[in-house]
């Protein structure tokens, strides 16, 4: 269970997040949706202890991320990019992550196979395509077989086949009882995957509920999204 409670973040005079509150529950895929710059990444970064909130809390199973006894086995995270230095090989990257978390080395080969990077494991990350980099990030997140996954724009950079694979993968994780929280600005790609929806715009949560509740009277989630986000900020898209 991921609990975001009254999160506010200021950078200088800019208000990045204002009173953001929502939860991501086990066994469900929670979609965190909003236009670029709405505050999705900032929220996820605070949840993962990368950025500090001005006020409010973000907890993993009731505990701040920094105090988790075994973070990599609790939450797997993929933020933008690969999260790997371009001069290292994919395998070397996963090896140090495994070493830091005390995870056996054989697990590195397992996750490489799982994201279909076995063939590129000895190549430098700098030579990877955008999609390969994303899959390497996912491999690192899966090393500890965590109970929760946090993914920032998971379908960015993936080809159509990769997007399909990702959707199936996320459903399987949720059905196995895991928590999945993903952010996206692409509605069409996500409507089929998510159970719960949180829509953020201009640093504020403008709507949340199950997929059916949020879609409501609108024809699709996409229509609902545009109605909510353009209405709240008043800028035409």
């Amino acid at each position: 269970m991921l609990t975001i409670d009254r999160l506010t973040k200021r950078r200088g005079s800019a208000l990045i997040l204002s009173d953001v509150t929502f939860q991501a529950r086990p066994g469900r895929v929670t979609g965190f949706l909003g236009p670029n710059g709405a505050g999705k990444s900032s929220t996820l970064r605070i949840l993962l202890g990368l950025d500090r909130p001005t006020s409010g809390t973000a907890l993993v199973d009731g505990v701040p991320f920094e105090r988790l006894p075994d973070p990599l086995r609790t939450v797997g995270a993929v933020l933008d990019g690969s999260g790997a230095h371009r001069a290292r090989t994919g395998r070397a990257h996963l090896s140090w992550v495994a070493a830091a978390a005390g995870i056996p080395r054989r697990r590195v080969d397992e996750v490489l196979a799982e994201v279909d990077l076995t063939g590129a494991a000895r190549k430098r990350v700098g030579s990877y395509s955008l999609g390969m980099g994303r899959r390497l990030g996912l491999a690192a997140a899966l090393l500890g077989d965590p109970a929760a996954l946090v993914l920032d724009e998971p379908v960015n950079g993936l080809d159509p086949e990769g997007i399909r694979w990702m959707r199936r993968f996320l459903r399987e994780r949720a059905e196995a009882g895991h928590t999945v929280l993903l952010s996206s600005h692409l509605m069409g790609e996500l409507a089929e995957v998510v159970d719960d929806v949180v829509i953020i715009n201009g640093g504020r949560v403008v709507e949340q509920g199950t997929l059916a509740e949020v879609t409501g009277a609108h024809r699709t989630l996409e229509d609902a999204f545009f109605a909510l986000t353009t209405g709240a900020r008043g800028d035409a898209r």
């Binding site: 933020l79 933008d80 990019g81 690969s82 999260g83 371009r86 955008l130 980099g133 950079g157």
Partner: protein
């Protein structure tokens, strides 16, 4: 012309460039004042008859570190991706789509870099020499008749050094190596000066040759005139820039 002003704008928007200006102006000025103070007390207590001819200019030879940083940053900022985690956000791709002719792109960069270094060295020279003159007074040679040729010598030395740094960085596509080589070689006892103890040919290294344009006391085995020194350094710079240009235009961005 628009490529030139674009490059100038790019340079001034880099924080490292302002740090380079700070180094280039502060180092010779502060050290120059310290030297001048100790020189004038030596003159006062009679241990020295007058200030050496290179007081002030010697310090400007060290301030060239600012020009080195500027030259390296002008080239390496195109390749470095730190700070942005997105996969391949290297500026070079944007730059080359904006100015498709690579040679024109480089010439604009060279022109912008030269402008910045002329400005920086002129400010540094003005401040350093007038501080030295103010502290030591009539005993100083900082602003005597020879200054008319020595001051342009300093400016030219800084410009050529910055271009040298720029050319090497184009070849290495990495700023760390040229920074290390060139800053080490601006140290109090330079590597090239050490090598001049091994072979007299070392006087033809660009820094030792170019310094002749404004320093009168360089203790190396072969004396070069200011003009010869400047020409030797310029030849180095042209050669290295040509190599850098060739590498840059032939290589995939």
């Amino acid at each position: 012309m628009s490529a030139y002003s674009g490059e100038l704008r790019k340079l001034t928007s880099l924080p490292s460039v302002w740090a380079a200006f700070a180094i280039g102006i502060a180092v010779p000025a502060v050290v120059g004042v310290l030297s001048a103070v100790s020189t004038s007390s030596a003159i006062a207590n009679g241990s020295k008859p007058e200030a050496g001819p290179d007081l002030g200019y010697q310090e400007l030879a060290f301030g060239v570190a600012g020009a080195i940083v500027l030259g390296v940053v002008a080239a390496s900022s195109e390749y470095f991706t730190e700070g942005e985690s997105a996969g391949s956000g290297r500026q070079i791709t944007t730059s080359l789509t904006a100015v498709p002719s690579r040679t024109r792109f480089l010439l604009a960069k060279v022109a912008a870099l030269t402008t910045a270094v002329v400005l920086m060295s002129a400010i540094a020279t003005g401040i350093t020499l007038s501080c030295v003159q103010a502290v030591v007074g009539d005993h100083a040679h900082a602003l005597d008749g020879a200054a008319a040729t020595r001051v342009p010598g300093v400016v030219l030395y800084w410009v050529l050094t910055a271009l040298l740094a720029f050319g090497i960085t184009l070849l290495t596509r990495n700023g760390v190596v040229p920074l290390a080589v060139l800053v080490l070689n601006t140290s109090v006892v330079t590597v090239t000066f050490l090598l001049s103890k091994v072979t007299p040919l070392a006087v033809y290294f660009p820094d030792l040759a170019g310094m002749r344009m404004f320093l009168t006391e360089v203790r190396v085995p072969v004396e070069l005139s200011p003009l010869t020194g400047g020409v030797v350094m310029a030849v180095w710079v042209v050669l290295l820039l040509a190599c850098g240009f060739t590498a840059f235009t032939r290589r995939d961005a």
